[in-house]
Symmetry: C2
């Protein structure tokens, strides 16, 4: 079936969560949001493009930082209300310069930092 971004289920703000996963290692790198146009642009360009809720603008991942996410494959969940994007990530995915945004683990009731900045 040919894919139409408009067939996804967006929230009240017209957004859908997109989980970025390293296509090779399986590491979950980050979660951000897309609107229908960001989904279309990601598929057209092969550059993962989110919608920045804070800036209210398209956010081509890595455009300013150089930490580009190249799309390997986009997947849709059973409810069509969440996306999984398998990516080739250049350098850190997190704005803190860590490989992944999920660098804080809960261990023994405490927050533990399990990842150092890459640069």
């Amino acid at each position: 079936m040919a894919f139409d971004p408009g067939s996804l289920r967006f929230d009240a703000n017209g957004l859908i969560p997109a989980i970025a996963q390293d296509h090779a290692s399986g590491e979950v790198l980050m979660m951000a949001w897309m609107n229908a146009e960001a989904v279309a642009r990601t598929l057209q360009t092969g550059r993962v493009t989110y919608w920045s809720r804070s800036r209210q603008a398209f956010w081509i991942k890595g455009e300013s930082s150089g930490h580009v996410q190249r799309l390997i494959e986009m997947r849709i969940d059973c409810d069509r209300d969440c996306l999984l994007v398998l990516v080739d990530q250049q350098g850190p995915a997190c704005h803190t310069n860590r490989r992944s945004c999920f660098y804080t683990a809960l261990r023994g009731g405490e927050e533990v930092e399990i990842m150092a900045p890459m640069v």
Copy 2:
């Protein structure tokens, strides 16, 4: 730092997205939502517990299906507005009986089913 679920950033509905990942294979299994109490219950019980938006009730994953998610580790992202739960998943995570909810891939502009039901 001791963890307080209230320190997370919840959306206007008091919810935070939680990504469930197989702790051993790295496979992303599903994404669902938690409120502060669901986060606390998950940590206390070791049974991953979501908030069902459709039923407006706590959803102890696997309670009716038997497809239990045992918590291995919870992680918090840099913005404290998304959770990653590493889990030990019994059987399928998806209500369609597939291992993962992300069984539809976009390939060549088409939707392709890449995973069959387990049972």
